[in-house]
Symmetry: C2
Subunit: 377 residues, 2 copies
C-alpha cells in the first residue's frame, strides 16, 4: 500500500482506504454499518434527519460499531456547515422553481413550488447531541464549522474530513483543521461542496482527473478522491493520480442496505448517458426520459442563474423518469453520478458483491503491483 | 504494453500511444514535427489557416515526414466538420458578445464585437487540397465529414480519428468510420467537440474520469483519453481507466516549437486555480486576474445561453490577464486546460523535456508494471 494510503487507513481506522459517501435521503445506518463491516468507512448523512430520527440512527450506529476511542468499527457522521440562506433565499427559490417549471409541465406534473426543507448547518446544539456518542469520524460539506466546533469534536477524538472542489478550498480545509481532504470532482453525484467563492457558477469545478493531482500537490494531509469511483480500475486510476483513498456513493445506491426508493433504483437501471442534462435543454429527448436525472448534479449545474445555495434546494423534482415508473405519484429526486450501477432489483449485499472492486482494494492492501490492463481490446 | 495500446500504436504508426493535440492559433508544423520526431503523433490544426498558409504548412510537414503509405514519421491533420452557422448566427454572436461585455469593461478594453473568423468545415475542396500530400492520419472535431469524404480519405490510406464528449457520440463515431475515438473529458482545454445534441449546454459533458471507462465499454475501436493529461501519472490513470492512448495539448503550449504568444505563455505561468471561471461570475476576483483564462473552456461553458456553436466563437477575448501583461494591446485568447504547464520562458524542447512523462511512456512501451506510488506522502 502506498504510504499515503496507509496513513489514511490508520487515520480512519479502516481496513480499506474507501469511504462510503453519506447520501441524504437514500440511506440510514444500515448502509453505513454494512460498509464499515466490509472494511470501509460507513457514513451516515446527518443533515436531513429530524432530531428524533437522528437519535434513532445514532443509537443503531453506536450499538453496531461503538464510540470514538472504543469503536469496534470505524464510522462517520456527515453534516453540512453552510451559512443558512439569507432573506434573499425566497426570491432565489422562486427563480429556481421558475427555471425548472417547463420540465414539470412536459411531464404532466404539478409545477414545483418553493419551500423545500432547509438543512441546518452543524452547530453547538448538534455537537451537544452527538458528543455523548462520540462518532469516530466527522465529515463536513460546504467547508468546516466554526473553529471552536472543530476543536470540540477533535477533543473527543473525532477525525475531521471535508470536501474541496478547488485547490484553494483544499488549502483552506487543511489550514482550518481537516485531517484529510476529499477532492470532489465534477463527476460526483452528490451536492457540490464548494464554499469559498460566493458565486454559484458550476463552471469553476474541474473534473477529478485534473483536480485530484493538483489537490494532492497542494496539501500535506491525505487526499480522498470522489466522483466516478465505481470499481477496481477507477480506484487504481485515483491512486495513480495521487489519492490516498477514495469515496464512492452512487455505486452503493442499489445495495439492499440502502433505502433508495424503487423508482430511483429503476431509474438507475436506465442509460446514464443523459445523466447530466440540465433543465436548460429546451426539451429532453426520449432518450433523456430513460435516464436517471440527478437532482444533485443537475441542481449544481443550473444554480448559476438563481443564486440558490445547494444546501437549500427547493423541492424540485425531475419528473420525466418518475412519470414512467409511477404515473400518478409525486416525482422524486434521484441523485446519482454519471456511472453505471449494479442491477436495481437484485439483492446486493456489500460484503459479497463487486468482486472486481474488492479485488482491486485487496491488491492495494496487499501492496501487490500490476500494470492495469485495458478493460477490453 | 496493453493490447489496446499496441493496437493503437500500430494503427497510427507511432512509437508511443500519445497524440499531440491540434491547437489552432498556437502552433504550426514545427510542434507537429517535433512531436512526431519524439515518438508521438504530431498534429496540425488545419481549420483556421488560410488556404495559402495551409499549403505552406503542409509542404513543411511532407518535407519533414512524408505522405501516407511512405511516411517516415506519422502525422495528422485536424479539421472541423460542423454544420456552418445558419442565419441565426449573427443574433447568437450578438448575445454572446453582450454576455461577456462586462469583463471587457472591467478590464478597460473595448467591448467585444461580433464578426469572428468563421471556420470552414471539411469539404470536397479541402479534400482536393490535401489528397496529393496524403496525410497519414486525419482527426476531426464536431463529428465526422460526410460519408463520401470519410471513404475518400480512407482510400488514400489515412486513419480517421474524432472526438466524443458522450458515450452516444462515441458509438456514432465508431458506426460512421472512425478508426479510433478520442474521449474528450470536461477537463480538455480545447473546443468541446460535441455534435450529436442540438443544445449547446455544457452541463451534459462529463469529466474524463467517468466518461472514459464508459466510452471504452461502448466501442470496439481504441479509445484515446483527452483532458488533464500532463505526465506519467495521468497517462497511467488514463490507461487504468481503459484508454489505449492519450492526447495532450496544454502541456505542449510552452514548447519552443509552439507559436504560443508571449502573453499566453505568461498567463500560463500564473495560477491555474481559477482556470474555468466563466463570464457569469459577477466580478473576477484579483486571483482570477492572475489566471490564464481559457477561451476554449470558458467559451464552451457559457454557450448555453447564446446558442452559439463553438466552431464560430466570436472574437471575444478575456481581457483580465492580457491587461496586466500588455496594457495597451488587444486582448488575446489563451486556451488551456486546468493543468500546470512548464515554465513559459524556458526553452522546452519536446525530445528532451518532461522526463517523468517520457519515463511513464517508456514504462508502458516496455510492458513493465508497477503500482503507482503516491506523489507525496
Amino acid at each position: 500500500m502506498a504510504p499515503s494510503s496507509e496513513r489514511l487507513r490508520q487515520l480512519l481506522g479502516v481496513r480499506h482506504p474507501l469511504i462510503q459517501a453519506p447520501m441524504a435521503g437514500v440511506q440510514g445506518h444500515e448502509l453505513a454499518v454494512a460498509a464499515s463491516r466490509a472494511g470501509a468507512l460507513g457514513s451516515l448523512p446527518s443533515a436531513t434527519f429530524s432530531p428524533q430520527a437522528l437519535q434513532t440512527e445514532l443509537q443503531a450506529l453506536v450499538a453496531a460499531m461503538g464510540r470514538a476511542g472504543e469503536a469496534s468499527l470505524p464510522w462517520a457522521l456527515n453534516f453540512f456547515c453552510h451559512a443558512p440562506p439569507g432573506p434573499q433565499a425566497a426570491d432565489q427559490e422562486a427563480r429556481w422553481c421558475e427555471a425548472v417549471a417547463p420540465w414539470s409541465r412536459e411531464a404532466g406534473l404539478a409545477p414545483p413550488v418553493p419551500g423545500g426543507a432547509a438543512r441546518a448547518p452543524f452547530s453547538d446544539a448538534l455537537a451537544d447531541l452527538i458528543e455523548p456518542i462520540r462518532p469516530p469520524v466527522l465529515s463536513f460539506h460546504f467547508g468546516l464549522p466554526a473553529p471552536h466546533l472543530v476543536a470540540r469534536v477533535k477533543r473527543w477524538g473525532a477525525r475531521v474530513l471535508s470536501s474541496a472542489t478547488t485547490v484553494e478550498e483544499a488549502r483552506w480545509l487543511e489550514a482550518h483543521g481537516a485531517d484529510a481532504v476529499i477532492a470532489q470532482g465534477w463527476e460526483a453525484g452528490g451536492h457540490r461542496g464548494h464554499f469559498l467563492r460566493p458565486d454559484r457558477d458550476t463552471a469553476g469545478q474541474t473534473g477529478l482527473f485534473a483536480l485530484l493531482p493538483q489537490v494532492v500537490q497542494a496539501v500535506r494531509v491525505p487526499v480522498i478522491a470522489a466522483g466516478g469511483i465505481v470499481d477496481a480500475a477507477t480506484v487504481q486510476a485515483a491512486l495513480a493520480l495521487g489519492a490516498a483513498g477514495v469515496q464512492a456513493g452512487t455505486v452503493f445506491l442499489c445495495c439492499t442496505e440502502a433505502r433508495t426508493s424503487a423508482v430511483h433504483r429503476a431509474a438507475l437501471a436506465g442509460t446514464v448517458e443523459a445523466w447530466a442534462r440540465t433543465p436548460r435543454s429546451p426539451r429532453p429527448s426520449p432518450a433523456d426520459r430513460r435516464a436517471p436525472w440527478s437532482t444533485a448534479g443537475c441542481a449544481s449545474r443550473c444554480l448559476c442563474g438563481t443564486g440558490c445555495h445547494p444546501s437549500r434546494w427547493p423541492p424540485v423534482r425531475w419528473p420525466a423518469c418518475a412519470r414512467r415508473a409511477k404515473p400518478q405519484g409525486k416525482a422524486t429526486s434521484r441523485p446519482c453520478g454519471p456511472v453505471r450501477t449494479p442491477a436495481p432489483a437484485a439483492p446486493c449485499r456489500l460484503r459479497r458483491s463487486w468482486p472486481s472492486w474488492r479485488a482491486g482494494l485487496a491488491r492495494i492492501a496487499n501492496g501487490s503491483s500490476g500494470w492495469p490492463t485495458a478493460r477490453r481490446q
